[in-house]
Symmetry: C2
Subunit: 659 residues, 2 copies
C-alpha cells in the first residue's frame, strides 16, 4: 500500500502516517485546510494564468518561449508547487483537488524536452544556454520542485509528472555527475531533498548519490561571488563545518532539509549532528518569537546572532514553511519533541499568519512590528514582496502562496507518527487518525480539542489492537507548569514539557486527556537581543499575541503603548487584556538628550486602561493598522530611557528655543 | 573678484566666504584636508582608471563605447565629482590639485556630443536611447555632477568644463522644457541644485526655471513604479506637501538641497518653509546619534519615524555629505545655528568616519553597531557597498569616496559667513580667515583651537576695519551648561547654546575666547526609538564615542558590555572611560523565557572594570573588531529584561533537559 506522505525516510526514530489515514475534521486547522482547498488553490492557479506563467509552458512546447516568456526565472516552480498541493489534496480524506490541475500537469509534461530537461527560462533558441547561470538561474531549484510534485503524484494515485520527474532526475544526474564542469551546484538549494524523496520513491540509488554530491560541492566558494557574499548561497563553509544557519533563509533551510534526508538515508550521523548543531544555534540566537527566521530585507537572510529587530523582521513565509519541513525531518530522525515545539510555534505564528482569512491574499514577509499604516494593495496587481502592511493577492516573486498551499494540503501528515512502541501525537487538531504500527497492528484515534484557544486535548481510542501500546503526547515547551495528563484510569497527573506517555492495552472508548495551561503569560526577551530590550510579549498557549491599533482608543497607534509588567495579562471572556497606558504625542526635539540620571522627575502617572491583544496570526484582517508584538514596559529602566508623555516636554526646550 | 564657494546664493540671511579667503592651518580638519589632497584624490583617480571608468570617456569619443563600457550607469559621475574636488583644491590656500586632473577634464570634454549631450551609458550606437530609462539611468544625475564640476572650475580659475557645463545645461533645458514628453525628471535628483548653481554663476534665468520645473514635476507618481514604491524617488508626494524626508536618503537630501536653492533664488518662502519642516521632522525622528541618515539596507532609504536600529543603520556616507550640503544651504538662508549644529555632528561622526586614517579606504555605510568581526576587504577588488566591517579601497558603486573628497576639499567654505553686522563662525578649526563685509570693510581672524578634543576656541583679530563689528560664535547644542565667552575686555560670561556675539570696534590683537565644556556625558535615547531602549551613549564635545572590542579584555566582544549609568563617564588623561561589566558567555536556551517578575533573583554583582571608549570616527582602524555606540545599562528594567551572566543559567534548563 502506498504511504502518502511528504517525507518518507526509510529509517529513523519515528515513522510518518499516511495522509490518507489522517482526517482533520474541524477546528483551527480544519478551517485552514478548507479555505486552502476551496479558495487558495484556485486563486493561485488564476493568478498564474493571468501573469502568463502557465502560458510559458505552452510557449516552450510551441517554440515561442524566447519571445513570449513572462515572470521571473523561477516562475515555473509556482506551477510545480501548486501541483504538489493538488496531489496532497487528492490524498487527504475530504480533500478538494482543483479541477484544472490535470490540465496544468499536461501543459508541464508537454514542455519537457526529449533529453528530460524541463524549464522555460533557459536553453531554447533565443535564450541563455542551459545552466549558464547556476548562481541565479534557479534551474535546478525548479527541477527540484517538479520532482517533488512528481513524488506527490506518485504517492497520491499517480499522474503524468511521475515519469516527467524521473526523466528530469535522470537528466540532472547525467549532467551534474562527478565530472560536471563549473560549480556544479545550484544557487538555490531544493534539488537535494527532492532527489532524496525520488530515491525513496523509486529505490534509485543514483538520485541519492547525486543529492549527496550536490551537498558536498557546496561550501567551497565555487559559485560566483554575489554582492551579498558566498554565505548568501551557503557556499562559504562546508555543511559539516558550519555552526549556524546563515545567508538567505529559505536557501539555508531547504539545504538543511536535504542534508537531513541524505544523512538519514546514508546513516551519516556526523552530517545529522552538524545540522542539529546548526539548528540549535539558530533557534537560540537567530529566531523570532513567532518562529520566524530571517532579519535582513536586503538579501532575505539571517542576521548575526541576536540581531532580531522586530520592525525589520523579514520572516519570509517560505522560510517558515521550510523551517517546518526541516523540523519535521529532524523529529522523524531523532524523536525529540523540541523539533515539534518549533514546528508548532511556526505553524501558528508564521504559516497561519500568511494567508488572509479568505485565503486570497498573503503576507510574503511577517513583521513583528508595523509602525505605519500601510495603504491597501492593488487587488489587480502583483505586489512588491517586502511590503508587509497588508496581505496582497499575488507578488512579482510569488513563492509564498503556493508554499503555504502545499503545506496546508499535507498538514495531516505532520500530526502524528508511530514507532515500535505505539503512536506519538505531535500537533493537536480535531482529527481522526489510523495508525498502522510497525508490527502490523492498528490503532484508531479520535482527537477532539478547541486548540489553540482551548487547552484540553481529548484523545479517544476508537479501535485498539490487542496487547500493550504506548500513546505519547507532546507537552509543549511553553506549558512549563500546570499541564495535566489523565489516563483512562481517571487519575490526572502533572506532566512536564517533553513527552507524556500512557502505556496500556487500550480498548475502544478509552480516553487520554491532556489539559494544558492556557492562562496568557508574559515572556521576556534575552537581553542580548538589543532591539527588544525593555519590552515584553504575551503568549497564550501556542499563540503569540500582538497589539493592533484597531483595538486602541481612536487616534492612537501601537507605538504609544506602555504596559505594566507587574500585572499579569488576563483572559476576560476569551479576550486577552494587559494593563497599559498611552504615551503622549510626539514632539520635534533632538531625540538624544542628556541622560537625566536616576533622580530625574518622572512623568506623572497616567490613567491606565486595559489594552486588548489579539493572536498575531489574525492581524491585518481589519484594514490598515499598526501592530506590535513586543510591548515596551511602562516603568522603564531608570538608567536607559526616559518616559515620554503628553505633559512632559522638558527635553524639547533646547531645540525649540532656537528654532 | 570671483568668490570661490560651493554654494553662492544671491540672497539669504548669511553670505559665504570665498574658499580663497580661508586657510585651515592644522588640527583635525587640517589633517583631514591634507590626507584628502595627498592621498584620497590620487587614490580615486587610480581606481577609476583601473576600473575602466575613465576609459569610458575615451571609448565614447572613439565610437567604441557600446562594446567597451565598464562600470554602473552612474560611473561617469565619479570622474565629475573628482574634478569638482580638484577645482576646490586649486581654490583653497595650500591646496594640492592632482596633476592629472587636467587630462581627465580633457577626456570628459572630448566625449561631449555636438548637441551638448554628455554621458557614456546611453544614446550611442548599440546603446539604449538617451533618456529611455529616466528612473534608473542616472543621465540627469550625471549631468548635474558635471555641471557642479564646471561651476567649481569657473569659481577656481576656469577650465574646459565651464563651457562643457553650459552646453550640457542648454541641452538639458532644450530636452526637458515645459513640453517634455514622459515623466520629464530623473530618478535621482542632483540636476536641480546643479542648474541653480550654474544659473548663479552665469546669470542665466533659463537654468533656474528648468530646476524649478524639475522640482514641480516630482511627487506626482510620474516615474515608473519601483518595487520600493514611488517614495523611493520622492515621487509620491509633491515637495510642498511633504512632511518628512523619505525614500532613498541621498536622493531625498539632494532634492531638498535643490529645493532650498530654488526657493532662495525665487523668493519662494513657502517652499523654503516646507523643506525646513521636513528637516525638523527628519532630525527629530529619523536621524541617528551620529547625524547619519537612512536605516534601510534594501533601498538605502529612511525608515519610519523612530525606526533607527543601530546594527542595521545604513547611514550612507553620501547621505552624510548631502546632509551637510543641505544644512549649509538652510544656514545661509535662515541664519539659524541649529543647521550648523547638525552639520558639525555629521561632519565629525559620519563624514570623518568614512575615510581610513590613510585616506585610501572608506566606509560606504556607517553602522552604529557591528556585532561580528568582519574579514579584511580584498585590497585589489571593488567591495560590496553594504559590508561595513572594515573600510574598503573602492566599491562597485563607489559614490562615497569622491563625495567625501569634494566636501573635504571645500571644507574651508563651511567655517564662517558674513552679514551686514559682521562675521559668524559656525565650525571650529585652526584657520586664518579673511571676511569681506558687505559694506566693503575687511576683518581678518586667526582661529586657534584643539577642537574637537579641546574645548577652547581662541579667535584673534589680525586685521580690523574701523567702526563696530559683531563677531558671532556658535555655541553648540551639546554645550548645554558651562560654555563661557570671554570678550577682549577680559570678562568671561556664561553663554547658552545658540549664538554668542561680541560687538565692538575691534583692534588687531583683540581676542575672543569661547570655552566649551568638554567633560564626557551620557546621552539617552528617546524611548520611542525601540532599538536602543535601555541603553546609553557617551559624547564628548561634538564627538560621539563608541566601545570597540580591541579595547576590551582579550576574548570579549562589545555585545557583552553592560555599563553603570550611575557613574558619569570620566576623562582619564584624554581617555574616556565608563564603569562597566561583561556579561557571561552565550548559551543555547530558547531566548524568550517566561518573564520572571520584579522579585526574581538577580545575577550576582560582578567586578566592574573601566571600559575605554574611543571616538566613533576612529573605529576600525586597528583591524577587525566589533563596535557599538549604544551601551546597554547594567541595571536593566526589572520589567523587561533579564540579566545574563556566566553564573546564571537557569533559563537554559527548559530546552537543555530535552535535547
Amino acid at each position: 500500500m502506498t504511504v502518502s506522505a511528504p517525507v518518507l525516510p526509510t529509517t529513523g526514530r519515528l515513522r510518518p502516517l499516511s495522509l490518507a489515514d489522517v482526517r482533520i475534521t474541524g477546528g483551527f486547522w480544519g478551517r485552514g485546510q478548507d479555505v486552502n482547498a476551496r479558495a487558495t488553490l484556485g486563486h493561485c492557479l488564476r493568478w498564474m494564468g493571468r501573469e502568463g506563467w502557465l502560458d510559458n509552458f505552452r510557449a516552450a512546447a510551441g517554440g515561442r518561449i524566447a519571445r513570449d516568456r513572462r515572470g521571473r526565472e523561477f516562475a515555473d516552480s509556482e506551477a510545480y508547487k501548486l501541483l504538489e498541493a493538488a496531489a496532497w489534496e487528492r490524498a487527504r480524506p475530504g480533500g478538494v483537488p482543483p479541477a484544472d490541475a490535470a490540465g496544468v500537469a499536461a501543459l508541464v509534461a508537454a514542455a519537457q524536452e526529449p533529453d528530460g530537461y524541463l524549464g522555460t527560462a533557459f536553453g531554447r533558441a533565443g535564450q541563455a544556454p542551459r545552466y549558464s547561470d547556476l548562481e541565479w538561474g534557479h534551474e535546478l531549484y525548479c527541477a527540484g520542485h517538479l520532482i517533488q510534485a512528481g513524488v506527490a503524484q506518485a504517492r497520491s494515485g499517480g499522474g503524468p509528472l511521475v515519469g516527467v520527474a524521473r526523466r528530469l532526475a535522470d537528466h540532472v544526474c547525467d549532467t551534474f555527475g562527478a565530472d560536471a564542469p563549473g560549480p556544479g551546484l545550484c544557487g538555490h538549494p531544493e534539488i537535494e531533498p527532492a532527489l532524496v524523496e525520488l530515491a525513496r520513491e523509486t529505490g534509485e540509488q543514483r538520485y541519492l548519490d547525486q543529492a549527496a554530491l550536490f551537498l558536498d560541492r557546496r561550501g567551497h566558494g565555487a559559485l560566483r561571488r554575489a554582492e551579498f557574499g558566498a554565505g548568501y548561497f551557503q557556499d562559504d563553509v562546508p555543511l559539516r563545518a558550519a555552526t549556524v544557519f546563515r545567508g538567505h533563509a529559505v536557501r539555508a533551510l531547504y539545504l538543511a532539509a536535504g542534508a537531513v534526508d541524505v544523512a538519514v538515508e546514508t546513516g551519516d550521523d556526523e552530517l545529522l549532528a552538524a545540522v542539529v548543531r546548526q539548528w540549535e544555534a539558530t533557534v537560540a540566537r537567530r529566531t523570532y518569537l513567532t518562529g520566524g527566521m530571517g532579519s535582513h530585507h536586503l538579501d532575505e537572510s539571517f542576521g548575526e546572532d541576536f540581531q532580531l529587530p522586530p520592525d525589520r523582521s523579514y520572516c519570509e513565509t517560505c522560510a517558515g514553511v521550510a523551517s517546518v519541513m526541516l523540523a519535521w525531518r529532524l523529529l522523524l530522525a531523532t524523536g525529540q519533541p523540541r523539533f515539534a515545539d518549533l514546528a508548532e510555534r511556526t505553524l501558528f505564528n508564521v504559516v497561519a499568519a500568511s494567508p488572509a482569512e479568505d485565503g486570497r491574499s498573503f503576507f510574503y514577509t511577517n513583521t513583528l512590528h508595523r509602525r505605519g499604516r500601510s495603504t491597501v494593495p492593488d487587488p489587480e496587481a502583483a505586489s512588491p514582496r517586502a511590503a508587509s502592511g497588508l496581505r496582497a493577492p499575488w507578488f512579482a516573486v510569488s513563492c509564498c502562496p503556493t508554499n503555504v498551499a502545499r503545506l496546508l494540503a499535507s498538514l495531516g501528515g505532520y500530526l502524528a507518527t508511530t514507532d515500535e512502541t505505539g503512536v506519538q501525537l505531535h500537533q493537536y487538531a480535531d482529527a481522526e487518525l489510523t495508525a498502522a504500527l510497525p508490527d502490523g497492528r492498528r490503532l484508531r484515534l479520535r482527537v477532539a480539542t478547541g486548540y489553540p484557544v482551548d487547552g484540553t486535548v481529548s484523545v479517544q481510542v476508537t479501535e485498539a489492537p490487542g496487547g500493550p501500546v504506548t500513546l505519547s503526547l507532546r507537552v509543549p515547551e511553553w506549558a512549563r507548569a500546570g499541564a495535566v495528563l489523565t489516563a483512562p484510569d481517571g487519575a490526572g497527573r502533572p506532566v512536564a514539557p517533553g513527552v507524556a506517555a500512557v502505556t496500556r492495552e487500550f480498548r475502544p472508548g478509552d480516553e487520554v486527556r491532556l489539559a494544558l495551561p492556557m492562562a496568557p503569560r508574559w515572556v521576556a526577551p534575552d537581553p542580548r537581543i538589543d532591539a527588544v530590550r525593555g519590552t515584553l510579549a504575551v503568549e497564550r498557549g501556542p499563540l503569540v499575541l500582538c497589539a493592533e491599533s484597531v483595538d486602541l482608543p481612536p487616534g492612537h497607534e501601537v507605538d504609544a503603548l506602555r504596559v505594566d509588567p507587574r500585572v499579569p495579562p488576563a483572559d476576560e471572556n476569551g479576550r486577552v487584556v494587559v494593563r497599559a497606558e498611552l504615551a503622549g504625542a510626539a514632539d520635534l526635539a533632538w531625540p538624544y538628550p542628556p541622560h537625566q540620571g536616576p533622580d530625574a522627575p518622572r512623568a506623572p502617572a497616567e490613567d491606565g486602561f486595559r489594552a486588548v491583544l489579539v493572536p498575531y496570526h489574525s492581524w491585518a484582517n481589519r484594514g490598515p493598522s499598526t501592530m506590535r508584538v513586543w510591548l515596551p514596559a511602562r516603568d522603564p529602566d531608570r538608567g536607559g530611557t526616559r518616559c515620554v508623555s503628553g505633559t512632559e516636554e522638558g527635553t524639547a526646550e533646547g531645540d525649540a528655543a532656537r528654532s
